[in-house]
């Protein structure tokens, strides 16, 4: 069995190591698929659903997240179809309405083409992407953080709300959190949240936003504002 497979993403033939995810393969080639909960090297959970793509198999299309989808030989992926772009934009709109105080999320919303936020803002300080939970467990084998509760009551918590002895105070959870960088104009007050939409003029932000956006032309495919400039 060959170690590499060849697949098609948005019409481009892409070679990727067997076992890697479609999202990693796409990013490697500079094909921009927005994502939030994915962190290279950590187990994908498919929670934010921003990286959804269409997989065409036997003439049928199925929507799934590219972070959890393993590459296969002759796979056909369409990452930026109209259906996907619309759903993705809506998800980004939901996210920014949940947590307007994150520059990363505001940035993602802009890049997904959100023009206005139709939902009332909620001022959450966590979007439950689970990056912190996984890095704590998988990188540091610490399991100091976990999810508790179900549905709207779901939260990230320390065991019994106390810092356990096995927490190494490494701060990895804070470094990786998409909520730690506030919008450029500073934190928004409750009740005064807005969709800033300014990040298109702040290209340097690419380093700070929690993904590996390469500011590419291919981003045009999903209506990326940066690419259009």
């Amino acid at each position: 069995m060959s170690e590499y497979v060849t697949l098609t993403i948005n019409g481009a033939r892409v070679r990727a190591p067997r076992g890697s995810s479609v999202l990693d393969a796409a990013l490697e080639y500079g094909i921009c698929i927005p994502h939030l909960c994915h962190v290279p090297g950590l187990t994908p959970i498919g929670a934010c659903r921003l990286c959804i793509v269409e997989v065409i198999k036997n003439g049928k299309s199925k929507v799934t997240t590219s972070c959890t989808l393993e590459v296969e030989e002759a796979m056909v992926i369409k990452a930026h179809t109209e259906k996907i772009l619309k759903a993705r934009k809506n998800i980004a709109e939901m996210l920014v309405a949940e947590a307007p105080n994150s520059r990363a999320i505001q940035d993602i919303a802009v890049r997904c083409g959100v023009k206005e936020v139709r939902y009332p803002f909620r001022h959450e300080n966590c979007v439950l992407c689970g990056r912190c939970v996984r890095i704590c467990d998988e990188l540091w084998q610490s399991k100091s953080l976990g999810f508790v509760g179900r549905g709207l009551a779901r939260k990230v918590r320390l065991p019994f709300d106390e810092r356990p002895d096995y927490c190494k105070r490494c701060n990895a959870c804070i470094d990786i959190c998409p909520m730690t960088i506030t919008p450029c104009d500073g934190p928004m007050k409750k009740g005064e949240e807005y969709f800033c939409g300014k990040c298109e003029s702040q290209l340097s932000m690419a380093q700070e936003s929690p993904d590996t956006c390469v500011d590419c032309r291919l981003g045009e495919g999903f209506g990326c504002v940066r690419a259009r400039k």
Binding site: R49, E70, K86, N90, I91, E98, Y119, G151, L152, R154
Partner: protein, 616 residues
């Protein structure tokens, strides 16, 4: 022990059991399912036992306490054989009369018979009752033949003969071929070909394999899996044994909700009894095939009915779904190949093996074969479990079997498939009930819930109810389901409380679409169905809420107004006494409602005998 002897022994036991049964002159079959237990069948049973003992009839009359017969509306109920006499709404006081008249003198107690509401005639035989007559009870019909707590009863009725057939004369591939040819599709709602699933699991590589019975039924108003597991647990064990043999699995789990105490008790007992006589465990019936079943109790999370969440829960993890890009037939429970089927699917397996695939394909439509059990509830006369061939029209189920509206008001819609199904209007009642037809119409077969609604149901309120249920039951892992559904609930609340706008309705539709496309598991993917289908078929009700700020069904509290019609009011004061909020004031000879105090609870409307309380 050689193979032949053990299997022979089982067959012999079955024959002896049958002979034993023939010694009794009369057999009284008393339903002791959950529905009848709730309406008091246990005291009826105690009274019957006492009476038979007093009259020294215990050797002549056999009492068989069985699982649900389906006609829950009429419980407690019993069938007396020979004669097929059917008594309903039995009270413990009726027992002496039944014993002296029917059991001793073969006379019928007229007043306990079922009265057909259409013709007004009393019907004495169970098979003549329209509710049963229009059905084809392949799976459910077995319930009244067996005592779920007694394995020998099941064996006497031909139980485990399919297992014997498979173990002695069929290869694993032949079993899979038979199931594939039968066209059996997953009865839990997915509708995936059972044979194909087994084949995938058989082909998958793994150190060991698992089969799981999904009995985590959680839809509001649906209880068929519960009734089958309570009434005939051995059929499920036999089905699982056959499946395990075909797939090459060695271990099995029955994942049952802890809220179903009787199902837990009966399946536990059934597994124990099967183990005792060597039907489960090492070397089943002396063959090389080994299989064991463990019982796992679910904690009551709706999402754990989803296969990957169920497996996570079985592993002791939080019951959350995971993406199914790799199927559970390859990597399921403990990352091993796992085949999960619903209770009803498993219960169909033994009959298919015994009677052959062609028997099964003879029923149903081109793509959906066999029969399906539905839980008929809501504003319908005959509430209960019905089993019909796939392709039966909704009209037949609602009017011929269900007996039409219970209130006399026009039936306007039926909600099929539980909280993730859709609402179908009366114009579509001629639709055949099969997987494709219902999905195309924007609903689904789902696990088989059917909630019937009449004119007093507000469709927007109904969509809100199901949405609220799903918001509570969403695991919260993925954004579209957790955030999307709560946003949808927010909007629909606005609509029912008079703050709705056209833009909000558009946003509701957009959000619903995103949730159905992008959610992680089937809970989220199907969750917008109630909203989308009501917008599609009952747009006028949404428009009335949004544009006219009016609830046509008179349900949404913020949009309705109670008043007393002066002409009709006789001044009896019934409403005045009934009102818990002190909102009714005496005015001259009649009464008046104080709007500031009125909580719109509707108690005054129920209390008024002259229909003088008006809701607008």
């Amino acid at each position: 022990m050689s193979v032949a002897i053990t299997i022979e022994a089982l067959k012999k036991q079955a024959e002896e059991q049958k002979k034993e049964e023939n010694k009794y002159g009369k057999i009284v079959t008393l339903c002791a399912g959950t529905g009848c237990s709730a309406s008091g069948c246990l005291s009826v049973l105690a009274s019957l036992r006492k009476e038979l003992k007093n009259k020294k009839l215990t050797k002549k009359v056999k009492i068989r306490t069985t699982g649900c017969h389906g006609f829950c509306e009429q419980g407690p109920l019993m069938v007396i054989e020979p004669g097929n006499t059917f008594y309903c709404h039995i009270k413990p006081e009726d027992i002496p009369e039944i014993v002296s008249e029917t059991l001793q003198n073969d006379k019928i107690v007229e007043r306990l018979l079922y009265t057909d509401p259409a013709s007004g005639k009393r019907i004495s035989r169970e098979k003549d009752i329209p509710f049963y007559k229009a059905q084809e009870r392949v799976v459910l019909g077995q319930n009244k033949l067996v005592d779920p707590c007694d394995i020998s009863d099941y064996i006497a009725n031909g139980g485990y003969s399919a297992l014997i057939k498979v173990l002695t004369s069929m290869k694993a591939d032949e079993v899979i071929k038979e199931i594939k040819e039968s066209g059996l599709r997953g009865r839990g709602g997915g509708g995936f070909s059972t044979g194909k699933k087994w084949e995938f699991c058989r082909r998958a590589e793994g150190a060991s394999k698992y089969v799981i019975c999904n009995a985590d039924e959680g839809d509001p108003g649906a209880y068929m899996d519960r009734s089958v597991l309570e009434g005939n647990p051995h059929a499920i064990i036999e089905g699982m044994l056959i499946g395990a043999y075909a797939i090459g699995a060695e271990h099995g789990y029955i994942y049952v909700r802890n809220e179903y105490p009787l199902a837990v008790k009966h399946s536990k007992l059934a597994v124990q009894q099967a183990e005792e006589i060597g039907l489960l465990g090492k070397n089943v019936l002396g063959t090389d095939f080994s299989f064991d079943i463990k019982l796992a109790r679910g904690g009551g999370a709706f999402v754990c009915g989803e296969s990957t969440a169920l497996m996570a829960s079985l592993e002791g993890k939080v019951g959350e779904p995971r993406p199914k890009d790799i199927h559970t037939t390859e990597k399921g429970f403990m990352d091993l190949p796992t085949n999960l089927n619903n209770v009803e699917t498993w219960a169909n397996v033994p009959s298919i093996i015994n009677k052959g695939a062609s028997w099964f394909t003879a029923k149903g439509t081109a793509k959906s074969k066999g029969t399906k059990i539905f839980a008929l509830t809501g504003k319908i006369r005959n509430t209960g479990l019905v089993e019909v061939p796939m392709g039966t029209s909704l009209r037949k189920i609602i009017y011929d079997i269900g007996g039409g509206s219970a209130t006399g008001k026009r039936i306007k819609a039926v909600q099929t498939g539980g909280p993730s199904g859709g609402c179908l209007p009366e114009e579509l009642f001629d639709l055949p009930v099969d997987f494709e037809a219902l999905t195309e119409a924007g609903s689904m077969v789902g696990s088989g819930g059917m909630v019937v609604m009449d004119e007093t149901t507000c469709m927007v309120d109904m969509a809100k109810y199901f949405l609220k249920f799903l918001v509570d039951e969403s695991c919260g892992k993925c954004v579209p389901c957790r955030v999307g559904l709560s946003r949808m609930l927010e909007i629909i609340k606005d609509i029912t409380e008079g703050r709705g706008t056209e833009e909000k309705l558009e946003l509701l539709k957009d959000t619903a679409e995103t949730v159905s496309i992008a959610s992680l598991c089937a809970l989220g993917k199907t969750a917008p169905n109630p909203v989308l289908s009501t917008i599609k078929y009952f747009r006028s009700e949404y428009d009335a809420h949004i544009k006219e700020k009016r609830c046509p069904a008179g349900v949404c509290r913020e949009l309705i107004h109670y008043s007393i019609d002066k002409e009709k009011c006789k001044g009896c004061g019934a409403c005045f006494k009934a009102c818990p909020h002190g909102a009714i004031i005496k005015k001259e000879k009649t009464y008046k409602i104080d709007d500031a105090k009125c909580q719109k609870c509707g108690i005054c409307k129920e209390a008024c005998k002259f229909e003088a309380v008006v809701v607008k």
